[in-house]
Symmetry: C2
Subunit: 633 residues, 2 copies
């Protein structure tokens, strides 16, 4: 502990980059079979070690001759040559061509000894004697080398074939095949060990105890996929607890086996503290804390002669810091340049304020306007949200001294992956099973299930292409109606309706546990309208009724959430669709039918993705077939 470093201030992002660049991640080159070499990076120059073709080759069908024997030959005055044999492609000539002689030869065949040119068959005539071909007349003169592809014309032995750092695409594989290489020297792929920390994390596929606050481990698999994409090989290490001895053993094992060890923090701060201590005591901590949001708690160090980087715990933060600081170092070590498609330029679709005094890596989504130009909008669902991963397409680096980005400002988006492309459609609004089916037939739509009210608000903000709106709405937004459908809704109850619920009145009058939807939901708007109607019937205030319904005030997040609560036995009734009730094997007390409309931003009506969506909605009859309670509007 004597050399404990003090980290009083956050380091600059540039210093963090330099610290990571100072680590040695580069593995030794390796040799792979040619058939596995596609996509790899050549480790050293390959010079040709043989001529291609390896022999002087006839490039036409005809007669191999000594060029000088044909001098002066023309249509009027052919040269007569004696036929001494035949040479086929892929066979060794068993004939020598002397003065005044010719050998029949086919394209690709080896030129026989003595011959130095080929007369095309079209310019010759066979001479017969005693019923057999004895000679040939050449009606044209050929110079030495005519119609012969000399050995080494394609590639000559000793020539530089491919340089170091060349990416091996099919064509390079072809050239290496022509040179006869069975194995190819390629850059090694750095091995990256990924250590998952946090007692609450469970591996996907494992049994999750939500009641104990457990969540699935997102970062290990996300970062592993990012490592592979950057040209590394990911190795997942088993879950580490917060015990110092166990963590030390795990990190040292990983450091010994890998070129780089990555960990990502968790909500359990103690695990991060333990890692910090292991790196300090057994390795060399180069950097702790970077002036970047997110990612302030980043660690960079060396351990057991290898490299170590600690990533933040929240998934979007972890992927952002990985993509910005770590992936470039892996690419460098692997010799893989960043693909051009890893960044795109676009204009800000909205104004956004900053001024936090440190580099901001802002999660951003992309949407194309009708002209195909890229618009960029901030995605801020709180850094803990996993869905930000798929709602955003990448990050925009905003300088510490930038106070705001204005609408229309040009920005560069560093995509989460070079394979990320802007969605063909950005839809927001009411989640709906029929909508899901329509979206399934589109190429790569994005749908944000923000509910009808919030969907309309966003449509008015001008970012999304369309909003999907269900139930009665109280706000007017300029839009183009692309069509819609209807859906039956009501109270989802257990199978056979054990409480004998007949309508909304039962929720008011009896002590039943109810689960509601949030106020952004179109279903909720329909329910509120039904409550208003009941209040009018009973000559009561709406609030008097809703206060009497146990659970009315708490809205759940998903359109199936109330029904699922009923299915779990946590509630007696929940707001939901007939279709949901049927798909979950529950009962439903129908309260009405509401309309779902797809409303487009007028500026985007001509956009291909919107046209595709409109065609899907047009064909809604087929889509809703078999969906209980659905019909055309």
């Amino acid at each position: 502990m004597s050399d404990r470093k003090q980290f009083r201030t956050l380091e600059s992002p540039e210093t963090a980059r330099e610290a990571i660049a100072s680590l040695d991640l580069e593995p030794d080159p390796e040799t792979v079979p040619l058939s596995d070499a596609g996509g790899r990076i050549l480790a050293e120059r390959v010079d040709a070690d043989l001529d291609v073709p390896g022999f002087d080759r006839a490039s036409v069908d005809g007669y191999a001759v000594r060029g000088r024997d044909t001098f002066g030959a023309d249509e009027a005055d052919p040269v007569e040559l004696e036929l001494v044999g035949t040479v086929h492609a892929g066979t060794e000539p068993d004939v020598e061509v002397g003065e005044g002689e010719a050998a029949e030869i086919s394209t690709g065949a080896v030129m026989p000894e003595g011959a130095d040119a080929v007369v095309m068959v079209e310019r010759t005539e066979e001479r017969h004697a005693e019923g057999a071909v004895r000679g040939v007349a050449a009606y044209t003169a050929v110079a030495p080398g005519d119609n012969v592809m000399l050995a080494g014309t394609d590639i000559a032995a000793g020539a530089r074939a491919l340089g170091p750092g060349t990416r091996l695409t099919p064509r390079e594989i072809g050239l290496l095949s022509a040179l006869g290489l069975e194995e190819v020297p390629v850059r090694g792929r750095p091995t990256v060990g990924i250590v998952s920390t946090g007692d609450e994390l469970v591996r996907p596929g494992g049994d999750l105890r939500s009641e104990a606050g457990q969540i699935y481990d997102v970062n290990s698999y996300t970062i592993a996929a990012g490592v592979e994409e950057a040209g590394g090989e990911a190795e997942l290490y088993p879950h580490a607890g917060d015990d110092y001895e166990e963590m030390e053993r795990l990190l040292l094992d990983a450091a010994a086996e890998c070129d780089l060890v990555l960990s990502s923090g968790s909500t359990s701060a103690s695990a991060v503290d333990v890692i910090y201590r292991v790196i300090e005591e057994r390795g060399d901590l180069l950097l702790h804390g970077v002036a970047v949001k997110p990612g302030k708690p980043m660690l960079v160090g060396e351990l057991g002669g290898g490299a170590y980087v600690g990533l933040p715990g929240y998934p979007v933060s972890a992927l952002t810091i990985f993509r910005t600081f770590v992936a470039p170092a892996i690419r460098e070590a692997a010799g893989v340049p960043e693909p051009e498609t890893a960044t795109v330029s676009g204009r800000m679709a909205v104004r956004e304020r900053y001024g936090e005094g440190r580099l901001r890596l802002m999660p951003a989504g992309l949407v194309n306007d009708a002209d195909g130009d890229t618009l960029v909008y901030p995605v801020d669902k709180g850094s803990g949200a996993t869905t930000s991963l798929v709602d955003a397409d990448g990050v925009v680096a905003v300088d510490p001294d930038t106070e705001y980005l204005g609408e229309g400002n040009e920005v560069e988006v560093q995509l989460f992956s070079p394979d990320v492309r802007p969605p063909t459609l950005l839809a927001v609004g009411e989640p709906d099973p029929a909508l899901s089916r329509v979206l399934d037939d589109l190429r790569s739509p994005r749908f944000l299930p923000v509910g009808s009210r919030e969907g309309l608000r966003r449509l008015r903000g001008g970012v999304p292409d369309v909003a999907v709106v269900a139930g009665p709405t109280d706000r007017e937004v300029e839009s183009v109606d692309l069509g819609g459908w209807t859906r039956e809704w009501g109270l989802v109850v257990p199978p056979e309706n054990p409480d004998g619920i007949e309508g909304l009145g039962d929720l008011v009058d009896r002590d039943l546990a109810f689960v509601n939807r949030g106020t952004d939901s179109g279903l909720r708007s329909s329910l509120d309208a039904a409550v208003a109607e009941l209040a009018a019937d009973r000559d009561a205030s709406q609030s008097a009724l809703t206060d009497a319904i146990r659970g009315f005030g708490v809205g759940t997040k998903g359109f199936e959430s109330p029904a699922r609560a009923v299915a779990r036995g946590d509630a007696d009734a929940g707001l939901g669709l007939r279709a949901t009730a049927e798909s979950l094997g529950l009962g439903v007390v129908a309260l009405g039918t509401e309309s779902v409309r797809v409303r487009a931003n007028p500026d985007r009506v001509g956009k291909p993705g919107v046209e595709e969506l409109a065609a899907g909605v047009e064909a809604i009859d087929g889509v809703v077939d078999g969906l209980a309670g659905y019909g055309p509007d």
Copy 2:
């Protein structure tokens, strides 16, 4: 043979596309572990089957309370609550919060029964009694839901998570992890069997008998790499001879095992004829011959219920037809869209004539001008040349009725691979070992070893960035000299110079077998100058001297070719460099030192690749260190 089809006319490319599209290549979906799912295509929609988070979660450190208990609390008038326990993240609460009670809670922990809000720790104060914490004062009111992330806020059970056809990049892997998926349903990768035909073909790594006209099999590996890139799985089948029975068995085996069988023709026409017969007799021949150059002999058919396509034999033709007609079908079957980077637009650097009456797929190279704009130039080395694979970057589809493409015309280049990028530098001219070393340090240069004379001619044509020119030159081309070096040259002879050759005169006066270089070579220009000098000395004509040198008239293709002929024992002396002689362990009779200059196209001097090259030439002293006979100019 009764249903033998007649193919009297070549089909249109569109018909060929339709025939291939009519084949069923799509394999069944499969299930892969999440850790192997990166880059795959989701086969079906994934809806969330659980809430994320799966529990109501505290989003700050503080105290879990019933919100209504805090109503009216403020700095002046806190509410006093009884402390009933503590909840840590990742543990199951063992406490229930009743009226007037609070439980200490940490970020990420499960909200205990009874509590519906969290008061931030900063707005509280502990109350001690009898030396222990007994209670807490809340200095602010919280409403139900405050500082609580409700279950399902991130993703709600039942929500559409990812649509079918989604490419799984790291972020989608993250979302699937959050949902706890251990396995993922993905589109199958079509298996593509590749049948190599032609008796003269040898697998890379095998023993090549050049004297029998054997060549390495280029197409199998090139096409296999192309198949993998398009999202398929390639399977190489053993070499097939021209025997009908053997070919039939091989093709039927491949058809039974694969979704698609590809063969490529060879110079041996009989193999192609055999395949044709097998498809006709055992399958269904849909198409034979397409009006496209190259690729006229393309076959499309069905065999054993699977698909079959026959590609042309020449490597560039095979890759071109594969890329244009077959790869799109594999991508379609695999669900992988063609990457945007698979085509680039550019302007023709030169004028090019056509008018052949069929679709021309012209191999084309790319070069950037100083502004970074892409120029396109035709590459025509004869379709048999393997090096066209790496000298060209892709193909331009030229309509049958296009008579010419003018300089500056906009064209679209279909790259041989989405990973192909324009070279950073296009250099042409004299091959040279020092140049190779300089090029090794550049990012991705292209060098065409066309020789000094041809290099200068091309530089004048305006396409390349630089020409590398050795020896005396007889033409003036406007250019910027980037520097150079010198190299010693002479007659390369066997070790110890067994014939005691002392100079050029010996080649004239004695019966020695000599191997020369082609007239485009700078070395040859230096030799010609030496011959002229000797002729002057002897008062003889140059032709009298060169006629007397056996082998003077035939120029070999590579700069090492004469020396390698000497090494093989095929010649007594060869034109070459001292550096070549030493690297091959041969002797050399020095005849002089020639200058090698790097001359740049004046329009390209500001181009980054040219600047990098100039910097490399500037540092030539270090580069030539250890290269025998080399020095700075």
